[in-house]
């Protein structure tokens, strides 16, 4: 024991390698702030929930009536509703996280100057990054839970593995919220938000969301597989259709690593922007 006490722990060595800005372990207070503010504007919950449900019925049920069945990449034959519901869940986790961590955070950062007053207290940039992203996950988690419930009633859920679809949606939200907030720290005006749309929209349409990966040209398949939403969709689809294998682990790892990098980058950018 005494030998290990003298040498710095692996964690602290890693911390020095990857300098993470200071925090006071008070990130939850920012979550509390957001919950308090959200109580005044609960209408946002309704819209955030309604959108993916509309998609589920228009595309899943509507187009599902025309397409009937799809052969998934693992070779199984499934109904189109069952095929597309997991993808819509993943996409809605992405959209919710991106909305919250870009538009809302940009407003707080540049206009409301919320973080300037937060940083005058013991809280640090890390608390802000962790607090905002956690809030995004909580909110996204609520949307996903409601969506799953509706999807189950609509008959789009086939396996008990689907219970894990909710935590999986939280991983998707984590990756997108963290990267979204990081991107937001570089935004100069609302005009820059077009870049976000530019990144999100093609991803939404072409991450094996509405048709299986095998239908893409071979040359494009690997591009699709690089996008984070592809991993989110594949993860949700695997769970909700009960096609669970080791690939699931890689999807989760991809999302977690991306999210962790996003948190680190966000905290460092906030430090540079606000503590000058």
């Amino acid at each position: 024991m005494s030998a290990t006490a003298a040498t710095p722990s692996a964690a602290s060595r890693l911390a020095r390698l990857v300098p993470m800005p200071a925090g006071a372990g008070l990130a939850r207070m920012l979550v509390e702030r957001n919950v308090t503010s959200f109580r005044h504007g609960w209408i946002a919950l309704v819209t955030g929930f309604a959108e993916p449900v509309f998609y589920l019925f228009s595309i899943g049920v509507g187009i599902g009536a025309l397409v009937q069945t799809v052969r998934t990449d693992s070779g199984a034959e499934v109904g189109y509703l069952q095929f597309v519901a997991p993808a819509l869940l993943a996409a809605s986790a992405m959209n919710g996280a991106v909305m919250d961590s870009t538009f809302n955070v940009f407003f707080k950062l540049r206009y409301a100057k919320l973080y300037d007053s937060v940083l005058a207290t013991p809280m640090g940039p890390r608390d802000i990054a962790v607090g905002e992203i956690s809030w995004s996950l909580i909110r996204g988690g609520m949307y996903s839970a409601l969506f799953l419930l509706v999807a189950a009633f609509a008959g789009a859920v086939q396996s008990w593995w689907a219970l894990l679809a909710l935590p999986a949606a939280v991983f998707i939200g984590f990756a997108f919220a963290a990267v979204g907030m990081f991107a937001t720290t570089f935004m100069r005006s609302w005009v820059d938000f077009d870049y976000i749309t530019l990144a999100i929209q093609p991803m939404f349409l072409f991450s094996a969301t509405f048709f299986p990966l095998s239908t893409y040209p071979a040359a494009l398949q690997w591009v699709v597989q690089l996008t984070p939403l592809y991993h989110g969709v594949a993860l949700e689809r695997g769970l909700m259709l009960g096609e669970v294998d080791a690939g699931i682990f890689w999807h989760v790892l991809y999302l977690v690593v991306l999210g962790a990098l996003g948190v680190l980058g966000t905290a460092r950018r906030l430090e540079k922007l606000l503590l000058s």
Binding site: T36, S37, H40, D116, T121
Partner: protein, 313 residues
Amino acid sequence: MASVTGDDILLSATGLTKTFGDFRAVDGIDFAVRKGEAFGFLGPNGAGKSSTMRMVGCVSPVSGGELRLFGLDPATDGPAIRARLGVVPQRDTLDEELTVEENLWIYGRYFGLSRREVRSRAAELLDFAQLTDRAGDRVEPLSGGMKRRLTIARSLINSPEILLLDEPTTGLDPQARHVLWDRLFRLKRSGVTLVLTTHYMDEAEQLCDRLVVMDHGKIVAEGSPRQLIEEYSTREVLELRFDAEDHKDFAEQVTGIGKRVEVLPDRLLVYTDDGDEAAAVVHSRGIAPLSSLVRRATLEDVFLHLTGRTLVD
């Protein structure tokens, strides 16, 4: 410069510097603030007051020199120092998505205070800020004076030992300013150390036990308002206005009257210990100004003498 020493020093700076690129916003200043004191930075726009306050508030790293609060270094103990500070920034940063009382609660929570603590403390502070009947209202429709009082109440939620106020009353009407000054007096009497910036000399005179005059990032004078006036000005000032584009032409005519004459675009200031006597001399020379006014010398005159410029332009 008179040095301040002793165990009761809460805040001290030596050679404190802040640079932005090549630009030195704060250029090697020394000062020290004692417990229970009201200490001011008086200076025009761009003097470096806010830059100094942000370093003291541990939200802007020091570029050079040494800064200590409660004996601690902001570079290593920022959170611990900030836990003991109250900050009123130049521009209100109230949380407009929350109500008046939620602003206090949540801000208290940022300090890690318990829910029970922030609720009882907030009730007292709302009373102090005369906002109890607005407790459940949104912040946005409050008047400027109310918002400022709420910002001050918010800064007191953690019972700070030092309160930093960056231009606490700029932009408020005279009535609202007096209400605010009254609140700050009360705080001072209750033992809170005040550190404030202002470009109003009346505010500095009202609130500060001791102050430094800043210009171009440097401290050009230090003392109590009274000491500064005694040292850098005469007791009284005779203001003369003429019917002229340029008041320079009249400066020669009054030479020899009083101890010193300053020429401003719109008036002449004759510095003298007896204003009425000087006015009589002006009259006896047959000089006929449009108006002549005798007043007590203020910090404005000190500033004018030290820098050759007026404080508020």
